[in-house]
């Protein structure tokens, strides 16, 4: 018996097999790893490089330093601030209304309601409609002369609106459309509400607390992580609105719906300014990161995490 050597043989064996296992693990994940390199990290680096160049996509890129960026921030390119303002306005309007509306529906649905499944389906249904069809539907509904929306307003004695054809009303109109497709958010809220332990509510019931009391002291605090998640996703998605504006308004009237990504699209694919468009994209990325970071920062103050008190 030579225990030592047999042990070392074993060890060598495990080492070899663990090496094999490592390779196998990487092999299984290879599609994802390659995808990350080819479709995310590689393009990011290339895009960052392009943002410092003058590049039409067909000539060879000329290095111009920070010119693309200074052109944006100095206001020389008037559309940068314009599109940023339009997009911020949209985010400020659409994100809170979307969250409040879908939270309200979720709370009501979470009660002992007849036809819960039907309501849930109905609220979710608009979110599966292709964006091009959504745009067609709302173009027709919001038509100032012939649309149903103004017809209904007139029926109850209110003046109609220019909706997406008015400089002032175009962004609120698109935020209203956005409200129509918040079914996914509603379902995430509903799932969160169903996870709140009954026992928490029972404790308040014993104390004779009202429903409002339950909402304020249990439901909302317990839902803050879900609200937080939906807030972040809402901001990220809100900044990337494009198709509605492209199909419905072409950025108009008078650039009042020139969303940021639309501005970027125009630079890249209509004016063939790939360098400048890349700089625009990176600024968007940084804005989104900063905003997300700020929301994260404040989250310590208002987001409740289970297990926090255990610490």
């Amino acid at each position: 018996m030579e225990p030592v050597s047999s042990l070392s043989v074993n060890r060598a064996k495990t080492k070899r097999s663990s090496y094999r296992n490592e390779l196998l693990g990487i092999l299984f994940a290879l599609p994802a790893i390659l995808g990350l390199l080819i479709f995310t990290l590689g393009p990011m680096i290339y895009s960052l490089y392009m943002s410092f160049t003058d590049y039409s996509g067909s000539n060879s890129p000329t290095f111009i330093g920070l010119d693309n960026y200074t052109r944006m921030f100095s206001g020389e390119d008037q559309y940068f601030y314009k599109s940023l303002g339009v997009t911020l306005y949209f985010v400020v309007l659409s994100v809170p209304t979307g969250i409040i509306y879908s939270f309200l529906l979720a709370i009501l649905l979470n009660r002992n309601i007849k036809g819960k499944a039907i309501f849930r389906t109905v609220f979710y249904l608009p979110s599966i409609v292709p964006i091009i069809a959504i745009s067609f539907i709302w173009l027709w509904l919001l038509n100032p002369d012939l649309g149903l929306a103004n017809e209904m307003l007139r029926a109850i004695g209110l003046p109609g609106s220019q909706w997406i054809f008015g400089e002032k009303s175009v962004v609120p109109s698109l935020a209203l459309m956005n409200l129509w497709t918040t079914g996914g958010t509603m379902i995430i809220f509903l799932a969160g509400l169903q996870d709140i332990p009954r026992s928490l509510y029972e404790a308040i019931e014993i104390d004779g607390g009202s429903k409002l009391h339950k909402l304020r002291n249990i439901t909302i605090p317990m839902m803050t992580p879900t609200i937080f998640f939906n807030l972040i996703m809402g901001i990220i998605n809100g900044f990337q609105v494009f198709s509605q504006a492209y199909v419905m308004t072409s950025g108009g009237p008078n650039n009042a719906s020139l969303f940021y990504v639309f501005y970027l699209y125009r630079e890249a694919f209509q004016f063939s300014r790939m360098g400048s468009a890349s700089a625009i994209a990176w600024v968007l990325f940084i804005i989104i990161m900063l905003l997300t970071y700020m929301v994260f920062k404040t989250s310590k103050k208002w987001v409740y995490y289970e297990g926090d008190e255990a610490r």
Binding site: G25, P31, I132, F229, A281
Partner: protein, 277 residues
Amino acid sequence: MRNRAWVEKGLVYLVLVAGGLFSLLPLIWLIRSSLMDMGQIFELPPIWIPDPFRFGNFSEALTILPFGRYFINTTVIVIFTMLGVLVTCSISAYSFARMSWRGRDLVFGLLLSSMMLPYAVTLIPTFIGWSKLGLTNSFIPLIAPAWFGGGAFNIFLLRQFYLSIPRDLDEAAYVDGASHWRIFISIIIPLTRPALVVVGLFTFLASWNDFLGPLVYLNSESKYTLALGLQQFKGMYAAEWHLMMAAATVVLAPAIVVFFIGQRYFIEGITLTGIKA
């Protein structure tokens, strides 16, 4: 007290019904408009039920542009995208859930954070890459990314499902000498079929509904997808609302059918999305 409870209940239903109407009215308006003639569509006060039902609008709208071609194009893109996502995403997710290798958590972390990356950042360089390869105006740029892991979100979703399967099952098989591949094919895949359906459905919708991708990559009409065809239709027949609504209904219908077939899975999938919150 009893009265108050009734009032409250009434209010709850009132809000829910109002919300339901807000969700449904636009869709009903779309469908009723798609079945009317030009005269009826504009009549005041609005008519809700077409008289007669003009199914001819559909054939008219569909023959104006080669929608058959667009339908085939869209279907080809959607099928190959779904295939790519299901195959490569499930394999990758297995590796992240069940195999250990150096750098795994780093790669997974990068994948997760890539979800926050605006698509606008990668759109331009990726486009330039494809055009250097001479592959723009083909379906490849729209399909190929699906074959490389199928997107961070789907990998995350499937990994969550895999993690919920007790490890004892595959460890027992592993001790018996089964390979990872064997475990993946004969234990994990059969047990997570509902998860694959969820991913498949989401992918179907995302691909079917995609507008920006085809807009950027496809420029000859014979390559157009339904969404692009519809956009072109709008440019030509903007005033003929009944035909526009008929065309929109045709694009919408498959999405609705798929939704109703897989409804249960949709709800489950979105619910899982929220759990990571």
